[in-house]
């Protein structure tokens, strides 16, 4: 025996899974929606995404290197995802400097001020997004018209914005309905909206991919969408002239993007399936409360951030089923 043997405790084998691989699977899952946004909004969608990604990765590197003085962990891919998700949550015509501010808030405040990957309480991309929504309400809610030929001066309201405006003007649903996009347009995504949220179909494709690759489980998306459906259905049945049908709610706004990509963020969502169901129902109910009774047409970003705050409490009180029953 010339060479020394390695001695370490068991197990001596490891799955070939890594943080990087999980993150890259999430990125692959976002590509259908990204491609669709380029089809609808033109090169501008790509411009916003690239700026958001470059700024997020750049800020992560700079803050870790020079402020936190730790080894930068940009290669794990999580800052890249935050950048992409931030881009998905803003209009395709957002000025470059606002995107950079958003990336700074996402990474610097949302993520690194809590300690970096794994320790952030709130979804970093949503922290940035909500910061921008409150700070730059005009730019953040002027959505470009879906032309496919780049962004021009024409803006288009979102399907939820149209609905809210009509209701604010005291119109009943039956009158507004004529102005609203058809369900197929919502599914495919040829309406106004944030660049990654418009096509329910592309987001669902990404979600199925993540389910198959075991990046996410069904609990959170099903709980979010299911509870939104139930709340919307109840009000719709009470008064269909004031409240639109549940399908419209599921296909509009950030419902799909939020349920599939934002609420399922591993770090800021609960650890157990049961916990994720509670968390998801919380998101769905809060989202619907904002949509039906709030001033904003859409509220899933706020709902996810609020439920993020409950995640530690849920983890502490909802335990997995123990082998051998209760003690």
């Amino acid at each position: 025996m010339s060479n020394l043997l390695t001695v370490s405790p068991s197990p001596h084998v490891h799955s070939d899974d890594s943080v990087q691989k999980i993150m890259y699977r999430v990125i692959v899952a976002m590509i259908p929606a990204l491609i669709w946004s380029v089809v609808v909004f033109g090169v501008d969608a790509l411009r916003v995404t690239l700026i958001a990604v470059a700024a997020s990765v750049g800020f992560e590197y700079l803050v870790q290197r020079y402020v936190m003085k730790v080894k930068p962990s940009v290669s794990d891919g999580s800052a890249l995802i935050t950048g992409m998700l931030l881009a998905f949550n803003v209009p395709a015509n957002l000025p470059w400097w606002i995107i950079i501010i958003g990336a700074f808030v996402s990474i610097g405040i949302g993520k690194l001020s809590f300690g970096g990957i794994g320790t952030n309480i709130f979804n970093p991309a949503l922290v940035g997004r909500v910061f921008l929504l409150i700070s730059f309400p005009v730019q953040m809610t002027s959505y470009p018209a879906p032309s496919g030929s780049g962004v021009d001066a024409v803006t288009a309201p979102t399907p939820l914005g149209l609905l809210k405006e009509g209701l604010m003007n005291g119109q009943p649903i039956s009158e507004i309905a004529g102005n609203l996009p058809a369900a197929t347009d919502l599914l495919m995504g040829s309406t106004g909206g944030s660049l990654g949220e418009i096509s329910a179909l592309m987001l669902i494709i990404g979600g199925i991919y993540m389910l198959l690759r075991k990046v996410i489980t069904w609990h959170t998306p099903v709980a979010v969408l299911g509870s939104m459906f139930v709340v919307a259905a109840i009000f719709w049945m009470i008064d269909p002239e004031t409240y639109i049908g549940p399908a419209y709610h599921l296909l509009t706004g950030g419902a799909m993007l939020g349920a599939i990509f934002m609420a399922t963020d591993m770090v800021s969502s609960p650890m157990t399936g049961k916990g994720q169901l509670i968390y998801g129902v919380g998101i769905g109910v809060i989202t619907m409360s904002i949509r039906l009774f709030g001033a904003y047409p859409e509220g899933i970003s706020f709902a996810i951030l609020i439920m993020n705050a409950f995640t530690p409490l849920i983890n502490n009180s909802v335990k997995p089923k123990r082998f051998g029953g209760k003690k």
Binding site: V7, I22, G118, R322
Partner: protein, 443 residues
């Protein structure tokens, strides 16, 4: 639908390279070193001295208490000395060192291959015989078998479970034994049933061994009350509690033994050893050891005398592969890494596994991303990420409340962690601390 246990579990690559290799006898070593502590419980007490002549099968160390086991010479020759030899971790342990001379067995041992089915002994006499012959659990835990066969007062066994799961990757010794000694295992099972006074036995075998399942199924019809239960492949199904859950649907309560749900579990290797002890009068002096690894050209299943240096088994398969970085005694999930390969094979050595250097070291530890894979993988329904944190911070009461003592140390959490966090290392550390706390509280 094949049966399996419900909570958690993982599917590591099986790599059972030696499954097609028939069991062959390893060469007799020139010197054996037989430790007096090869089982869980009190070490045995040497009853031979330097210069004594011994025969194969002769008692050389007697049981040191109720939870202990006799140890017999695996070779014939002269006792060279009683000395401290390094164990698998390098700690010095008392052992009897014998220079081998020929291969002379005690006359009382039946060396023929004839299958002996009939047995006139009653239950207690069988237990007595098992006790005398030093049979321990050969699955790796090495718990003395006779202790299990005497349920505590007020408890009654209902099922005997024979563990033929062999869920550890790479290992094939139990698989080969089931193929080559099926009748002996079935007779051993019947003897254990008689000893326990139960009329139902189940042999649990994972579905990746269809040949063993069909062979034992076919033969078990001749043995009353013995049923073969094919199981869906999932690690750690060979864990006692997981096997009981899979085969019977019963859950052993936290902190309790299998007998609490009327079950006694014994390994197929132990059932074979029981057969040899009771029907052939042969003490436990040899066992089947899988010698394997990704770079091993000729992986093998060797019948090895207890006390043979591991290095001789490695020589038997053509020497240590060039790229070896780690040598493991046992399987890759729960086995022990050897500090040196001169340590002896003991009753609990189920395999010798050579791991290439590039797989021998762990990946860099990254922060927990709370992916909950460890929670999903845990077969005991624990939260390894949390147990690691509370153990690391020495929050022992919290660790106890989170059921750290339920951990069976299967390693599924560490295996599955994408951040390569040393979950089980910290949980073991915490278990040690919490165990001490519980003992202190009792006193």
């Amino acid at each position: 639908m094949l049966k399996t246990f419900k909570l958690g579990g993982i599917h590591p690559p099986e790599n059972k390279f030696s499954a097609g290799q028939a069991i062959r006898n390893a060469e007799l070593p020139k010197v054996v070193s037989i430790p007096v502590a090869q089982h869980i419980g009190t070490p045995s007490i040497a009853v031979v001295a330097k210069g004594d002549k011994v025969k194969v099968g002769q008692l050389i160390a007697k049981s040191g208490g109720f939870v202990s086991a006799n140890i017999h010479s695996s070779v014939s020759g002269t006792v060279a000395k009683l000395d401290q030899v390094p164990d698998s971790l390098g700690y010095p342990k008392q052992a009897i060192i014998i220079n081998v001379d020929g291969d002379e067995w005690l006359e009382s041992i039946d060396l023929s291959d004839t299958l002996v089915k009939e047995c006139d002994l009653d239950g207690p006499a069988i237990v007595q015989k098992i006790n005398e012959c030093g049979i321990v659990g050969l699955g790796g835990a090495t718990f003395p078998t006779h202790v299990k066969l005497v349920p505590p007062k007020g408890m009654k066994a209902e099922y005997l479970l024979i563990n033929g799961v062999e869920c550890e990757p790479y290992l094939t010794s139990d698989h080969r034994l089931m193929l080559e000694k099926s009748d002996e295992i079935l007779v051993g099972t019947s003897l254990l049933m008689k000893a326990l006074n139960v009329d139902k036995a189940m042999i649990g075998i994972e579905n990746n061994k269809p040949d063993a399942i069909s062979l034992l199924k076919e033969k078990s019809s001749q043995y009353k009350g013995v049923q073969v239960v094919p199981l869906k492949v999932k690690y750690p199904q060979g864990g006692e509690k997981q096997l009981i859950k899979a085969a019977t649907g019963r859950e052993v309560p936290s902190g309790a033994l299998p007998i609490a749900v009327g079950c006694v579990v014994s390994n197929v290797g132990s059932a074979f050893a029981v057969y040899e002890a009771v029907q052939k009068n042969k003490p436990l002096i040899e066992r089947v050891v899988t010698v394997t690894g990704k770079s091993v050209q000729n992986p093998a299943n060797l019948k090895v005398r207890i006390g043979t240096p591991v290095s001789e088994l490695i020589a038997a398969i053509g020497g240590l592969p060039e790229d070896t970085g780690k040598v493991i005694s046992g399987g890759p999930m729960m086995g022990k890494a050897l500090a040196n390969v001169d340590v002896p094979v003991t009753k609990g050595t189920s395999g010798i596994l050579m791991i290439p250097a590039k797989e021998a070291r762990r990946d860099e530890i990254k922060p927990c991303i709370r992916c909950s894979r460890c929670v999903t993988a845990c077969p005991m329904g624990l939260e390894p990420y949390l147990l690691m944190t509370v153990a690391e911070k020495n929050l022992l009461e919290r660790a106890e409340a989170e059921r750290i003592m339920d951990c069976i140390e299967c390693g599924s959490c560490s295996y599955t962690c994408p951040s390569s966090r040393p979950l089980l290392d910290y949980i073991r550390f915490g278990k040690g601390r919490v165990g001490a706390l519980i003992r202190a509280r009792k006193n």
